[in-house]
Each structure stands twice: as C-alpha cells, then as structure tokens.
Symmetry: C2
Subunit: 237 residues, 2 copies
C-alpha cells in the first residue's frame, strides 16, 4: 500500500526515525519516537502501522522501528529540505541560528522540489547547515563527519567543533553570546574534581579562552579530531 504524496505527519515521523540514529545507533522505540514528536504513545502505534502499510518502516509489534529503503530515501530528502531551509534563513534572511529550527520544521513540508533546488543553487549547494549537520545531496548521498561528543573526550585531546546540537535554542543563544561557533579550535584540559564541569580551551577567531562547560553543554558539542585518519563516512545515494 502506498500514498502518492506523504502527509506532513508522515514526513515528520520518518525524519525523526532517521535523525535518531544519525549521531548514535540505539534503535528507536515507540516511546522515544512519541517523546521526540510530542504525541502520545498510542498515536505512534497507530501511525507506525500506517507507515508499515506504506512500506516506509519495518516493525514487529513490541520491538524497535527501522526504516526501509523507501523510508530512508524519504527521510533523507526531508533532512535535506530541513537543513537547506535553515541555512537559507540564516544566510539570506538574517535569522540567528537559534531561530531557524521551528520555521524550517513547517516550511519543509510546504515548499516544492523546485523551491528547494533553486535555494540550494543560490546557496552554492552547501554541505552543512548552521549547526554543522550535514546536508544530504540531491541524489541522497550524505557525508557525515567523524566526530565525538566533547564530554566523552580525554584531557589533552584537540580538534575542531564540527557540530552543535540544535535541540535546545537557549543553549544555542548561550554559545552565540560566548562566541563559541562552528570550526572553533578546541583543547580539552580536564575536569573539575568529583565529576565537575569539563574544562576546555576554545579559540574561535581571537585569543583562546578557557571555559567550564556543564555536561549539557559539552555533550551538545561535537568535535572532529585533526589526526590524519579521521575522515567522514559517506552514505548512499
């Protein structure tokens, strides 16, 4: 069973399932999906059945939910839309990086393929969005940079910030105020005693400064280490 054009709800479900496994690989469950989407568990159960009928997910009752090939294709195209729109809002309309997510969440369902491709062309086919998330190419291929959460790094580790989780707008505003941005050089100095905040040196542009980062902040920052062999994994098309 398939539908000509998926509804915006279906697009969001598939996108959230995909995004969940993008920076880690625990498979997604009904409850987590419900949390991410802000709906009741029962709504997810019903919707997952519909997604299965349409061939977008594989699902056995009471187990995890995974995307089919068609599901991945749809999800990747939605992720491309979302991130291109975010980039466009920042670059062309002067949005701040903490303002773009909600707008993109709606626009991604409303614009045509033509709109997306003209926008991409105008932006010069960017490879990442304002938060460092990779923008899938039009053919569906994705380049995910190899990166680790800053809070998981040992003292002495150096690298560059390659991604900043866009889940919490307040955190983004805090980082902007502190001028912590993508591509800033980072050195992990250590931890305050008794599992205290992470101490790091960050030099974005000017002189490097030291920061005591709370766990929530450090875990939102993804660092790409600079050793020669750290590449990036390419998926698809």
């Amino acid at each position: 069973m398939k539908t000509s054009t998926p509804s915006s709800s279906i697009e969001d479900y598939v996108k959230v399932i995909y995004s969940f496994t993008e920076w880690q690989d625990k498979p997604i469950t009904s409850t987590r999906l419900a949390q991410r989407l802000g709906v009741a568990n029962s709504s997810v159960s019903e919707m997952v059945r519909k997604l299965k009928d349409q061939g977008l997910v594989d699902h056995k009752p009471y187990s995890a939910i995974t995307l089919t090939g068609d599901g991945v294709r749809l999800a990747v195209s939605m992720v491309r839309r979302h991130r291109l729109i975010e980039t466009f809002l920042v670059q062309e309309l002067g949005y701040r990086w903490d303002e773009v997510h909600d707008e993109a969440e709606l626009l991604e369902h409303a614009v045509s393929d033509t709109f997306i491709e003209r926008m991409a062309a105008k932006l010069g086919n960017p490879l990442r969005d304002p938060h460092g998330d990779p923008i899938p190419a039009a053919d569906g291929s994705v380049q995910v940079p190899a990166a680790h959460r800053m809070n998981e790094l040992d003292a002495g580790h150096t690298g560059r910030i390659t991604r900043i989780s866009d889940e919490n707008p307040e955190l983004l505003r805090y980082l902007a105020a502190e001028e912590i941005d993508l591509d800033a050089e980072v050195e992990v100095l250590g931890r305050r005693p008794f599992g205290g905040p992470l101490v790091v040196r960050i030099g974005s542009g000017g002189t490097p400064r030291e920061f005591d980062l709370a766990e929530e902040v450090a875990s939102a920052l993804w660092v790409h280490s600079e050793d020669a062999h750290a590449g990036c994994s390419v998926t698809g098309p």
Copy 2:
C-alpha cells in the same frame, strides 16, 4: 467564538472572499466561492457557518457572504503574504511569473510573521507583486491603482498596463513570450468587425507592435489611464 490561529482552510476562504471583490464589486455567493476553492457547495455552507461563528463573515442563509472587520484584516494579511511570497520567488529565486502562484498558495500558510517581514525588508517593501496586484502594507493599508479592463476601453484610449490577472498560467506564458509586460504603454486601436478581437498597439521597451487580442486576453489586462486625475484608492489600515 474565536480560534487562536486560523487553519489554512479558513485563511484561504477569507482570502478568496476578499479577492473576489478586489477588482469588481459583485458580492460572492456560496457557489462561486466553492468554484474558486475547488470544493463542493456543501463544504462551503458548513465552512461559512464556522467563519460566522468565529466572527470573520456576515451571512444570512441563502444570501451573499461578506467579510467583517476582523475578516478583512485577516484577508488583507493573507493577501500581503501571498503577494510578497510571489515577489520573492521571482526576484530572489528566479521563478517565472507563471510559476509562483501555486507555490505561494501553500507557503502563505506556513511561514511566520518574522519570515514575511524579513522578506519584505529584503525586497525593499514592494508595492505590487509580479502581476501588478497591490501588496498591502504591514499596517493593513492598500493602494489599489485605478484601472480598467482593456476589453472595456474605447478606441483611441491610451495608458499603461498596471495589472495582469494571474488566474491562467498559460495566458501568462503567452504574454511573456510576446514580451507583453507590466508598465507597457498601450493604445487601443479598435475592434475587428462583428465583435472580433481587440486591436491594440503595445510598446514594452522596444518598438510598439500591434496585437489582435482574444477576449480572454484583453480582459486579463488592466490599464491605468494617464490623464492627470486618475489616482488610486487607498484603503485602511
């Protein structure tokens, strides 16, 4: 009874009611509204009741439908959205004027006020859209140029094209191919015998050329005459 944020359907209903009386003043009936919206008459009856409950229209069963003050305000803001989006698509993303309507029809419901105002600023607060339709200001005031349909003009009349109906995309493509554009100077030469096509001289940019225009074409072109007293009517805020 009122709703916090009107649904896209309600926005479209109100916008169509408003637009119907923008270039002429027959009041709109259920059937015509249904035709414009592409829905069944029965759907309009139900929806008009809802619009009335929300204080957006006045309506006595079996008679015409008119907007209340609130209805006009909502409609004008939707018209502003629609036309700014059309203008943006043409100016910033290289759309042709026959491609913008459908895209704007969806986007107008999806973008935020912030988006609209940043777009307007970037475009320099334009006063008309790619088809010459006036763009209401943010405060709700509208400047409608005084204009007449070309097919209603007598021989000898001169003026400039100030508006081109965007209802028929094919007609827009035809006009673009013939390089008939907004602001072109026009002189009505007369009619072919027995109620035949209208003969006009149009000079858009280069040398004036003569055209035999079918009724459908001539009635889609609105001409602003150049005599001193022709102004424009301002409505609102």
